[in-house]
């Protein structure tokens, strides 16, 4: 009852954040120098007469007062009709939905991998805290966290694709190859391997650190002593009491990472020429494709908000103390 009201209050806060973010999403493209004219008109914008230029601008709705454009943007959000890409003339929904699955594939797989590995290693490290193993893995993780993403990705390409020729270096599928069924799945997996590997490797440390920290603090709790006093085997204490409880805050970290990972794939998608949302946004930004920019920003904004919401609502659900 109270929790639900609290939830509603949170939702209200999110709504405010969303409105501000959407407004900024609208403003940012227009604040950026350069104009999308070249895009709308094709490259030879310079050869157009001023009248033609005006016509083009009007056609894209860019001559309207900003307020009107802003309201139009809201309308498009509310009606889920985001218009067309200046560059491609394709509806935004189509573009975004076309790219979304790839980004999801990367982020979710990487999250699953890094989540599992990070949690397992983190718990183990805390369990053996102060040991050689703990120090070793801890420093290794901190080192990983300090590795530049793009650099690792490029080294992977140089190693696995160019030198060894084991894995494809770009794209999500083999272009032009008409694959189906298992062959297609294998093809997709092959293409996703390097980006996922890079993403996972680099997200493990955050999960690891969170889990290690969380486990350490749980290990100091009185109820762990109670469990030991019951004569439980260390494994049982670890699994049923320590890990189970330590996982609670880590789920929040994972949920938040999901939102973050979503927007954080830009670099990876660029390095691996992977057709995800991050690259769509990057290209749109470089070209000032306003509708695509707004569309992708909105997706990222909503993803982060949803992740926050998920984190906010997941924790109380998992923790009986806050469950009503």
């Amino acid at each position: 009852m109270n929790a639900r009201r609290l939830g509603l209050a949170r939702l209200g806060q999110y709504a405010i954040v969303l409105v501000v973010a959407v407004t900024l999403n609208f403003a940012l493209p227009r604040l950026m120098p350069g104009s999308p004219l070249a895009l709308i008109a094709g490259v030879e914008a310079g050869e157009m007469t001023p009248e033609e230029r005006a016509a083009v601008t009007a056609d894209a709705g860019l001559d309207e007062p900003l307020v009107v454009q802003y309201l139009t943007y809201w309308k498009s959000i509310l009606t889920l009709d985001f218009g067309y890409s200046f560059r491609q003339g394709t509806p935004i929904e189509e573009l975004v939905l076309g790219r979304l699955p790839w980004t999801l594939l990367l982020t979710l797989t990487a999250l699953a991998v890094s989540g599992t590995v990070g949690i397992a290693l983190g718990a183990f490290s805390a369990w053996r805290r102060g040991s050689r193993w703990d120090v070793g893995s801890l420093s290794f993780m901190i080192a990983l966290e300090s590795t530049p993403q793009f650099w690792l990705g490029m080294l992977f390409i140089a190693l696995f694709s160019v030198s060894l020729g084991w894995l494809p270096s770009f794209g999500a599928t083999t272009a032009g190859a008409d694959l189906s069924g298992l062959a297609w799945v294998a093809d997709v997996a092959e293409h996703a391997a390097l980006p996922v590997l890079t993403l996972s490797i680099l997200s493990i440390p955050a999960v690891y650190m969170a889990m290690r920290y969380s486990t350490l603090s749980v290990l100091g709790e009185d109820y762990i002593r109670t469990a030991q006093a019951k004569g439980l085997r260390p494994r049982a204490v670890m699994m049923h009491h320590v890990v189970r409880t330590a996982l609670l805050p880590v789920t929040t970290v994972l949920a938040l990472r999901l939102g973050w990972a979503f927007g954080g794939t830009v670099v990876i998608e660029t390095v691996f020429s992977y057709p995800g949302l991050g690259r769509l946004m990057y290209d749109a930004v470089s070209a000032r494709d306003y509708p695509v920019m707004q569309g992708t920003f909105l997706v990222f904004t909503i993803a982060v908000l949803l992740a926050n919401l998920l984190a906010d609502s997941l924790y109380p659900r998992l923790d009986p103390r806050t469950r009503v």
Binding site: V17, G130, S146, V267, M281, F300
Partner: protein, 295 residues
């Protein structure tokens, strides 16, 4: 009823159980390693003109030459000495990292402090933090870069703007818990105003935390600087490790044998410096964070 006597002569089994594991937390070593790395890099940065064999802007050799006696790490695409570039790059990377992190800490601390101490205002401030955290940062970057122009100062500003928000959160939660402490209630009950309480009781504690955050953030800032330079969003004309990588990538070094002397060293240096600060930050957190200090 029972009573008990001590029979002096009773042969008592005397067992000594030695502690099974060394309790000295080995993770302390990490802080020392971090400090050594940071100090070493700091020294290199300060002594760059002495240490570097060439002026990094000088065309000192044949472009694209592999390592040799004159150029230990070879030369880049315009014949500049890569080793000198690495040495001078330490200056830029460390400066950008430290200054940006410091700026972010100041901003984050102020917002977090106010946000935590005045809960109503804090709720508003935190919504602001939320917004910053969810904004797509690429366009934000370009907008900022366009308005500010590209320079090392602006890179610093951009990074600071990107990383202050999480700090504000951390500081706020600390201040929130501090504000409930008995000694603050005590001060309030003695008639202390907000200014006094913040100055005397909240700020000192928070600063300690902010210092820990700062060191950790420096690591992030160094990484960000390299990413920005690499993506061409920083200033590729500045001699930083990131821009060395930018040139390496732009001139195809990743795919030639040159990667060994052109790509690996800056990447490793970025990693090393970020690692140094991260380790230091970890060690500091262990000392500062009371939750971690227990047992």
């Amino acid at each position: 009823m029972t009573a008990r006597v001590i029979t002096e002569s009773a042969p008592e089994p005397q067992i000594v159980l030695r502690r099974s594991r060394v309790s000295g937390d080995r993770t302390r070593v990490l802080g020392v390693i971090g400090a050594v790395i940071v100090l070493a890099l700091g020294t290199v940065a300060v002594l760059a003109p002495v240490l570097a064999p060439y002026d990094p802007t000088e065309r000192a050799g044949t472009p694209f030459s592999p390592p040799s006696a004159e150029h230990l790490l070879g030369t880049n695409d315009v014949g500049q000495d890569l080793l000198s570039e690495m040495i001078y790059g330490t200056r830029v990377s460390l400066t950008v990292g430290i200054v940006a992190a410091a700026a972010a800490m100041v901003l984050g601390t102020v917002v977090g402090l106010i946000g935590g101490y005045f809960p109503r205002l804090g709720a508003v401030a935190m919504r602001g933090v939320d917004v910053v955290l969810i904004l797509p940062f690429l366009p934000l970057l370009i907008v900022l870069a366009a308005y500010l122009g590209r320079s090392i100062v602006n890179t610093v500003i951009i990074i600071a703007i990107l990383i202050w928000a999480p700090t504000a959160r951390v500081i706020r939660s600390q201040v929130l818990s501090l504000a409930k402490r008995d000694y603050i209630v005590a001060a309030r009950s003695m008639g202390a105003g907000h200014g006094y309480v913040i100055r005397r009781h909240v700020l000192p504690k928070t600063l300690l935390l902010a210092i820990g955050e700062f060191v950790a953030a420096t690591s992030g800032a160094i990484l960000l600087e390299s990413s920005l330079s690499f993506l061409g969003l920083g200033d590729p004309l500045q001699e930083s490790w990131g821009s060395t990588l930018y040139w390496a990538q732009a001139r195809g070094a990743f795919l030639t044998p040159a990667w060994k002397w052109w790509v690996l060293p800056p990447g490793l240096l970025i990693m090393l410096s970020a690692l140094g600060f991260a380790l230091l930050g970890y060690a500091l957190e262990q000392r500062i964070n009371p939750r971690l200090r227990r047992s």
